[in-house]
């Protein structure tokens, strides 16, 4: 069974690393739309895929978080990627598979995956 003692060990390890990951102004943000529309369209596995892939690649300066509905429910699951100094990119009709590609191409290599963006979808 998981014990609080184990949690203490995690705390000690995390504290040792903490200074390294504190308040980075260059941190990228991944915002997953998680209102009723997003959730119903399958945003939860998409968010999990982002978290897992980012952890797998050991990316330190990326935060994944949820956001509300931005009014384009027909395109959910919608994911916004914000990298400081670059234009915000809105990805639409996301899937866990597409999420992996966005992490690898966009977050790691800074190449926008244009075929998944809203610009392509509305053409």
């Amino acid at each position: 069974m998981k014990s609080l003692a184990e949690l203490k060990a995690i705390r000690d390890r995390a504290q040792a690393e903490m200074n390294m990951r504190k308040e980075n102004p260059n941190a990228a943000r991944v915002l997953v739309g998680m209102a009723t529309c997003g959730i119903a369209a399958g945003a939860r596995p998409v968010l999990n895929a982002f978290v897992e892939e980012i952890a797998k690649r050991g990316l330190k300066d990326v935060t994944v978080t949820q956001t509300g509905c931005i009014g384009i429910c027909q395109y959910e699951p919608v994911v916004e990627v914000e990298i400081p100094g670059e234009e915000k990119v809105t990805y639409v009709k996301m899937t866990p598979e597409k999420a992996v590609k966005v992490v690898n191409d966009h977050l790691v290599n800074h190449n926008v995956v244009s075929e998944y963006t809203i610009g392509t979808a509305t053409k």
């Binding site: 203490k8 705390r11 998680m34 209102a35 959730i39 119903a40 978080t65 509300g68 509905c69």
Partner: protein, 182 residues
């Protein structure tokens, strides 16, 4: 919604927007007595009686990005379609408690789904808010209280990946034990 756990994720988001700092999610189920009850309680800003009536209406929302608000209506429907019931108690400045009761064996019962994943995501995305999760079955019950974790963790945030993994494992192990698994 394909799983009730998704309804919980959605409706709990209302508590977050109501600026609650403590959200309690309780799932009580019994095969013996054939029911499942989901309670979501918060200490957020609360609503007036008039607003409580409005949130049940799908064509009401406080948001300006769109004209419909389906979170609460879908949750209500999921309970009532099983012959269950739905209730919201709210007081301005005190908080809101939403309760959905289901008849578990009903043909239109939506599966609970991965409620642990819902709790993990809620904690991960709102590390500044405390969550209490209580799950009970005929075999027993368990509680996850992030206030207790916070005490141990000190200044280490709840959304630290290793902490989230601990939470996921804790939820999984305890769920197995109350479902009578190994």
């Amino acid at each position: 919604m394909r799983e009730l756990s998704l309804n919980v994720m959605d409706v709990a988001q209302n508590s977050v927007r109501a600026e609650a700092d403590l959200v309690t999610v309780k799932v009580e189920e019994s095969d013996k007595d054939d029911f499942l009850t989901i309670t979501i309680a918060d200490n957020g800003c609360g609503m007036t009686q008039e607003q409580v009536q409005q949130v049940i209406d799908p064509f009401f929302t406080t948001r300006t990005t769109r004209k419909v608000g389906l979170g609460v209506p879908l949750f209500k429907l999921s309970a009532e379609q099983t012959g269950g019931s739905f209730d919201i108690q709210s007081e301005k400045g005190v908080g809101t408690t939403t309760t959905a009761t289901y008849v578990k064996s009903h043909v239109d019962m939506t599966p609970l789904g991965d409620i642990n994943d819902t709790m993990k995501i809620l904690i991960q995305c709102n590390p500044e808010i405390d969550f209490i999760f209580i799950h009970s079955t005929d075999n027993g019950s368990f509680t996850l209280d992030t206030r207790e974790l916070r005490e141990v963790l000190g200044d280490v945030s709840l959304d630290t990946p290793d902490v989230l993994e601990w939470i996921a494992d804790y939820l999984e192990e305890n769920t197995k034990s109350i479902y009578g698994g190994a």
